[in-house]
């Protein structure tokens, strides 16, 4: 190794100082990282070490050192850098470390997590969808029930994993399952519900939440809320998990009444489902959105509100959509509202219910589910980040053709800590924009939540009312009123 001519070499001898070779190599490595330093030697000045330094052009010509001396040698771009590096090296010889122990590592994998403390019984999976099937399969293999919040999981994976789960008599809630309450423990977006006699088996997340909250208002508690994922009653999945969930709630001693909530199932699946429900051995409400209400062989309801009411009635209670509160909401917003209806929803099933009610009333409306993939790409779900709805609401306020906006507000675990305030701000801005244009924009809605939810339902309601939102006791009631407003306008125009 040749020593370059345009560099500086410097040495420092520490008389009778001893450090072991590993410490010295570590020191040399550290000092060598300094700017402008080319090479560092830190050695005991034994003849063997001096020979090594000499071979690599690192031995100063005028060096005087005894074998029990410690020698620092630095080659660097200039003399100043050499001296600074020697100072640093000398300081490094006496530095100490506090030796504080490292913190414990959190488990990373399913298997590692199972080795921590008491064995878990349920795995909650919200990894990116690409990896979710892998984690779910590991969890099922280990005998865990699974709550799979992840979406973007392939249908073939869903079928395969649900078959695997059914073989093991394990729940696989999801993929794309938003809510569950199992043995009183809430997972995902879940309202704080009193324990009670109704089990809800849900292929729709906010649908289950709305039913549970309406039951809560009627003083009826929930025993289990089992999400199964939105595709469970499709022809491909064939209700694999709905069937298992029904088995479990049928056996569950705390359950007296069972509600199944879903978008309308595939035809062949629907027949099997209704046959299964008719033979369940417990009173059942099939809340299948958009279907006609029927009473036999199974009670079928086409709206969430209808499903909740039927279940309450089986228990001798009633979901009071009391006239007084509907009237109060109506009074808050009957003037104005001239124009069409736009729905800006964070809950997919609430959006679907509104659409059904408006359609049944013969009112065409633009109902958007802002939690749908096309709106959430690259951003959080609007139930987590309520600001996502603001721009849609403000835009609606600027549209002269829009007279009524329908909104929802979902409370509970998982939801934003104060979803009301950003919605209220957006409502004020939209209404002000419309007012500046000489129009009145009506905003109607409901709060899906219970008195025990962490956000405080009364405070959230007040925030919305103060912003001029006409608040109804249920999503269905708000939608009915929107439909009535449009139909009244039509009648008025026809008379005129």
């Amino acid at each position: 190794m040749n020593a370059p001519d345009n560099t500086a070499l410097g040495a420092r001898t520490m008389r009778r100082l001893y450090r072991d070779s590993v410490a010295l190599m570590a020191l040399a490595s550290t000092v060598e990282k300094r700017e402008g330093v080319l090479r560092v030697g830190a050695v005991m000045a034994t003849p063997a070490n001096l020979e090594i330094l000499d071979r690599s052009g690192m031995k100063p010509a005028d060096l005087v050192a005894a074998p029990d001396d410690l020698l620092l040698v630095v080659r660097a771009v200039d003399e100043a850098t050499v001296q600074e590096a020697l100072d640093a090296a000398e300081a490094g010889l006496t530095s100490t470390d506090s030796g504080a122990p490292r913190t414990e590592r959190a488990p990373q994998t399913v298997l590692e997590g199972l080795a921590v403390g008491d064995r878990p019984t349920v795995a909650a999976v919200s990894t990116p969808g690409t990896y979710a099937p892998i984690v779910v399969e590991q969890a099922l293999r280990e005998g865990l029930h699974v709550f799979c919040f992840s979406d973007n999981v392939g249908l073939d994976d869903e079928v395969r994993l649900k078959q695997m789960a059914v073989e093991r008599r394990l729940l696989l809630m999801g993929p794309d399952c938003g809510t569950a309450v199992i043995d009183r423990v809430p997972l995902g977006f879940a309202n704080v519900l009193a324990p009670g006699p109704v089990a809800i088996v849900a292929a729709s997340g906010t649908g289950a939440q709305e039913i549970a909250c309406l039951l809560d208002r009627a003083g009826v508690g929930v025993s289990q809320l089992v999400g199964v994922g939105g595709r469970d009653l499709s022809a491909a999945v064939g209700g694999l998990m709905t069937n298992l969930a029904l088995d479990l709630v049928a056996e569950d001693e705390t359950t007296e009444v069972v509600v199944v909530v879903s978008k309308p199932p595939a035809e062949e699946v629907a027949q099997q489902l209704l046959a299964r429900l008719a033979a369940l051995g417990k009173p059942v409400v099939a809340c299948l959105l958009g279907l006609e209400d029927t009473e036999a062989p199974v009670v079928v309801r086409g709206t969430l509100e209808g499903g909740a009411a039927a279940a309450a009635e089986m228990l001798g209670r009633s979901v009071e959509i009391d006239e007084a509160s509907v009237a109060a909401a109506r009074d808050a917003g009957t003037t104005g509202g001239l124009g069409s209806v736009v729905g800006l929803y964070t809950g997919g099933t609430l959006a679907a219910e509104a659409k059904i009610i408006l359609t049944r009333a013969g009112v065409a409306a633009e109902i958007l589910d802002l939690g749908d993939d096309q709106y959430t790409a690259g951003r959080p779900h609007p139930m987590i980040d309520p600001a996502a709805r603001t721009e849609h609401l403000v835009r609606a306020g600027a549209r002269p053709d829009v007279g009524v906006v329908l909104v929802d507000l979902v409370l509970g675990h998982g939801a934003s800590h104060d979803p009301g305030t950003p919605l209220a701000d957006a409502v004020r801005e939209a209404r002000a924009t419309a007012a500046a244009d000489g129009r009145e924009l009506l905003v109607l809605g409901s709060v899906c939540g219970t008195a025990a939810d962490p956000q405080g339902i009364d405070g959230q309601r007040r925030i919305l009312r103060d912003a001029g939102v006409g608040l109804f006791p249920s999503n269905a009631a708000a939608a009915r009123h929107a439909a009535a407003l449009v139909n009244d306008q039509r009648t008025a125009q026809e008379i005129a």
């Binding site: 570590a26 990373q108 399913v110 878990p120 990116p128 892998i134 998982g414």
Partner: protein, 458 residues
Amino acid sequence: MITGGVRVLNAGLPIIVEGVPSVDVVQLDWRPPAFGDPDLARLAVTLDDDATHAANRIALAAVHAARPRLLAVRPAREVVPGLADGRILLHAGPPIEAKRMCGPMRGALVGAALFEGWAQSPEEAEALLDAGVIAVDPCHHHSAVGPMAGVLAPSMPVFVVEDEGRRAYASLNEGLGRVLRFGAFDQEVLTRLGWMRDVLGPVLDGALQASGPVDVTSLVAQALTMGDEGHNRNVAATSLLARRLAPAIAPLPHALPVLEFLASNDHFALNVSMAAAKLALDNAIGIEGSTLVTAMARNGVEFGLRVAGTGEQWFTAPVGPADGLFFPGYGIEDANPDLGDSAITETLGIGGFAMAAAPAITRFVGGTPDDALEITRSMRRITLAPHPAYPLPPLNFSGAPSGIDVLKVLDTGVLPVINTGIAHRQAGVGQIGAGIVTAPPEVFGQAVRALHARRSAR
């Protein structure tokens, strides 16, 4: 409804379990498995079932059951399979043609050819090697292992390690400095090799015959309690071995130079524990369905991995130089890509895996004794069980993490840590540092694909 109550393992967003009492939540620090390759992760999960677990139990039990004894020191040609006739030299790592070898390995082969008298000059030796007149083959294919270049020639003496009638072999360690295993082949090197052949080998063999076999498991276990990790630090094991043999060496001719040689070579026992590790791990070769790693070895160009369930197949990927500390006057630019069969120690569960036992050398990896504990703990995450014969005092006598499972490597993304010496890239310069390498991730992916294909074919 849930037997045992709801206790949640949360893989993903903490918000999902916001409503669950925190005592009933195990929050994972979840990361994408299989180094972020979802297709590979699927294959790994498919393999991770009862059949594989059963195969791994059998494989690991076979490895742990081995009790290798150092039996003899004999010329390689007498004992190593395939070395009795013809011109053949063995080398470290997975197979590689002579033309593609790194400097130190070619240097060592040239030296071995000169030593055997097969060539009269280095140029002639290189020509014979390139032409295939002198054949080359991995040590691992001949029940043998060798550190660094790992070159073994028929007339060199080898350690003979035996258990239940099965044997494994390793060369004798030459010491540091200008030595064949770093590619040096000058007269000093050849003279020392001649002395090892004519004096050291026969004396050690005589001593072993007089004193009886040495229990290598016990030797290594004791050294682990004395500050060795069994790969980069062997001073305790070497001292124990020398002490054990000294009384039997003393009466023999040439006793003093032999004892002086042992006294001056801190790594002398490494080759013994390497042969013993090889013997133990070979017990698992070919156990159908097992995902246990049976060998990790480097040839200075490629890293090679073998897995029990795929028998003698090698999975290879390019290898880089070790990250470590360099002797004065040398730096990373001088370093040869990693080389040697000595990672057989980590494959068994000592070396880097037993770092906790050797606080004295943790500064080679820029660390403290805490880091040493952490390295050993992290190796637990990718191994099947503690080695019952190798309790580590700093970890409350729990055994060294033993038996690398390729499925666990993919699941955790944790790569095996290997302690290693660093060779100069030019033949013959010698060791220029020491440090740590991790196995390349690719080889574990290849192994899982091959295991999966093999299962699908069954």
